[in-house]
């Protein structure tokens, strides 16, 4: 029986991702995982790519996962769960499995946009019945904040540090959500932990759809974003309200924006509280701020058009 999406009801559920994990204080990733598992009313098995979430949740004989969970390596969370899911189907076919199980794969942006893209693309194309969740914190955080193809324009990271000659990352982000949509899989979405109801609805919807699903979730990292430990939710909210991180879904090719901010805030509202963008506010880097705003605007306009196309 499905739990209603009300906090009072959800709070009665058992924590399937427990405390005692070792993510940094105020990290967004455990909030994302917790919301996904709370929204899941089925038995679920998960895989996890190497990265902050994985090393901090299953370490030195302690696991925070109360569900069956597997980590194998960095670039292959999708391939790994595709194997688990295939064995499940095989056992079902042979009458050795009578339960209905859902499969989720978790990967960071490095493990998803970059090194794991092939494995993810392959698993999606093969049509495994699974949800792939990317928790996007915009850099390789576990190894110490190196740039990934999800790192936003202008960000200061340890491999594209903001220097005198080069002002941080000079390339825009890759639009992975759209790349996944181009796989023509039945469901692709973008979500944010600030909008918990929207996030959980998407997870619920994804579980009810057979086949491969992909959800990209903004996951603040106060260490890498050089922000405060208490701002994971407020920052992700600003990310949504500036349309830097639009909340939308593409179901069977049909785009729907699931949240439109009443007033679209300027992207500087999102950048200002984050130390990784501090240098952008120096006069010589103003062009990057302008470029960033232009990019957000263009993407948002595109999305609005895509929605109207239907």
């Amino acid at each position: 029986m499905a739990t209603g999406l009300k906090l009072k009801e959800l709070s009665k559920k058992e924590d399937l991702f427990t405390h005692g994990h070792r993510m940094c204080s105020g990290c967004g990733a455990p909030i994302v995982v917790k919301m996904i598992l709370l929204a899941t009313d089925y038995p679920v098995v998960a895989s996890n790519a190497t990265g902050c979430l994985e090393v901090s949740s299953c370490i030195a004989e302690y696991t925070a996962w109360k569900i069956p969970w597997i980590h194998t390596a960095f670039e292959n969370a999708a391939a790994t769960i595709s194997g688990v899911e295939t064995m499940y189907r095989s056992l079902k076919k042979r009458g050795k499995m009578d339960k209905d199980i859902k499969f989720i794969s978790f990967g960071g942006d490095g493990g998803t946009y970059d090194i794991g893209l092939q494995s993810l693309s392959g698993a999606m194309e093969r049509g495994h019945d699974m949800i792939y969740v990317c928790y996007d914190n915009g850099a390789y955080m576990n190894t110490g904040i190196q740039r990934s193809s999800a790192t936003p324009l202008g960000a200061d990271t340890t491999t594209c540090p903001a220097g005198i000659a080069i002002p941080g990352k000079i390339r825009p982000r890759k639009n992975l959500t759209k790349i996944m949509a181009a796989h023509n899989i039945p469901y692709v979405a973008q979500a944010s932990p600030s909008n918990w109801m929207d996030l959980m609805k998407k997870v619920r919807k994804a579980h009810e759809i057979t086949g491969p699903k992909f959800i990209n979730i903004l996951s603040p990292c106060n260490r890498g974003w050089r922000s405060k430990t208490n701002d994971a939710i407020s920052l992700s909210k600003i990310g949504v309200n500036t349309c830097y991180w639009p909340l939308y879904e593409i179901e069977n090719g049909v785009t729907k924006i699931t949240f439109k901010p009443k007033e679209k805030k300027p992207v500087v509202d999102f950048l200002k509280p984050q130390g990784r963008f501090k240098h952008l506010f120096a006069p010589e880097n103003e062009w990057l701020l302008t470029k960033m705003q232009e990019e957000v605007d263009t993407e948002w306009e595109k999305l609005l058009k895509e929605e109207q196309c239907v």
Binding site: P43, V45, S47, E54, V55, C58, I59, A60, E61, T63, W65, K66, I67, P68, W69, I70, H71, T72, A73, E75, N76, A79, T80, I81, S82, G83, V84, E85, T86, M87, Y88, R89, S90, L91, K93, R94, M97, K99, I101, Q118, S119, S121, G122, A123, E125, R126
Partner: protein
């Protein structure tokens, strides 16, 4: 009732896999393995097995998916060669570290660069430290038999380790030879139903596979893995005994040919052993006591028993179809290690032969035996390691 057929090595191994009908199979093409998995794919399509095939987008994903599937709880196979095995390298260690009995025929082929699709042992030798059990096969029959036995070995409750079955690319994979097939029911009986061990899909006991382990315990985990490997040889022998009862074909940790009273011997893996045996007969006819040792179990390496078998000889040439550049050949290093502790030991030399599919001909074996005769008679050894038959 055995059935005698004329088939290629690839076909024989594919047939063994059909007879076993595993739960999941990872499939990805690479010469010379390709047609083994193609055949298996057609068994799937034609309903001759009800295995779920995963048609992966790379060997890295193939091994990753096999690991996921094996951890989930069931019988898993895949096959590869060369670059494919190299691409899997990272995951090979994870399959063994997680103690997952994945079975993988490896159709041995050279590694790039330069690109070469023909047979040598560089691929499997490069994977010798990955924690996999390795069984090597002289011909299609041995590859077929080893494949069937591999399931019993890897899935043994005291072992639970992945197994590679090595066979020479093209020379064996693509040559038609006479092979005796066992009956499907015999094979299924022999292998038995898959026994689960810590299945991930057991919802009542949620487990976590693949933790981060810190220096305070990692060393102990590896020691435990080492100890498991130490149990493998006995299991290999037990399984071989049962296999002999069923098939009449006997297997050990290695095979010897006229070695018992030999003065000189060649140690060689896989298909080249056949040619060498013929040359041994020639030399025996001339009154030279020549012999051969052909390892079957390369990992774990049966050091003690191989030393026992070789220590009475005067001179031995270890033939490597792979090089460890800047080092001796990989098989040579093992044989030297094995003999170091023996009371009497032969003089030893190392020849690198047959790389990238270069033919290994009787004249090569003849050259080596002639050199061994001289060495045994007191001629000095010029170089420990030499390339056999390489043009200047």
């Amino acid at each position: 009732m055995t059935q005698v057929v004329a088939v290629t090595g690839n076909e024989a191994v594919a047939n063994a896999l059909r007879q076993i009908n595993p739960d999941v199979c990872g499939i990805y093409p690479i010469t010379p393995q390709t047609d083994m998995m193609q055949r298996f794919a057609s068994y799937v399509s034609d309903g001759k097995v009800d295995t779920e095939a995963i048609l992966v987008e790379s060997e890295h994903s193939s091994m990753s998916a096999c690991i996921g599937a094996a951890a989930a709880g069931g019988r898993v196979v895949t096959a590869t060669s060369s670059q494919g095995l190299a691409l899997m390298w990272e995951m090979l260690h994870i399959a063994s570290g997680d103690r997952l009995p994945i079975i993988m025929p490896v159709v041995n082929r050279a590694l790039s660069a330069p690109l070469n699709i023909h047979g040598d042992h560089s691929d499997a030798m490069g994977a010798r430290d990955t924690g996999w059990i390795q069984l090597w096969s002289e011909n299609g029959q041995e590859a077929y038999d080893n494949t069937i036995q591999a399931f019993r070995i890897g899935e043994h409750m005291d072992i639970r380790l992945p197994v590679m079955i090595c066979l020479d690319g093209f020379i064996i994979s693509h040559s038609i030879e006479r092979i005796e097939y066992l009956e499907d029911a015999e094979v299924q009986n022999f292998v038995g139903p898959y026994k689960n061990f810590l299945p991930l899909l057991d919802l009542d006991k949620p487990k976590s596979y693949g933790p981060l382990i810190l220096p305070d315990l990692y060393h102990e985990y590896k020691k435990a893995q080492h100890e498991v490997m130490a149990k493998v040889t006995d299991v290999v022998l037990d399984v071989a005994k049962d296999f002999e009862k069923m098939s009449g074909r006997s297997y050990g940790l290695f095979e010897t040919y006229k070695l018992d009273d030999a003065d000189i011997a060649i140690v060689i893996l896989n298909s080249a052993a056949g040619t060498t045996k013929d040359v041994i007969d020639e030399f025996r006819a001339k009154g030279v006591k020549a012999g051969l040792l052909k390892p079957r179990l390369f990992r774990p390496f049966p050091y003690r028993k191989i030393a026992d078998a070789l220590q009475h000889t005067k001179a031995v040439c270890v033939m490597d179809r792979a090089d460890s550049f800047g080092g001796y050949g990989p098989l040579f290093m093992e044989i030297v290690s094995a003999l170091y502790h023996a009371k009497d030991k032969p003089l030893l030399m190392n020849k690198i032969y047959g790389l990238g599919g270069r033919d290994y001909l009787p004249e090569h074996a003849e050259t080596v035996f002639s050199e061994l005769i001289e060495l045994a008679n007191g001629s000095p050894l010029k170089n420990v390691k030499e390339y056999l038959g390489a043009r200047e």
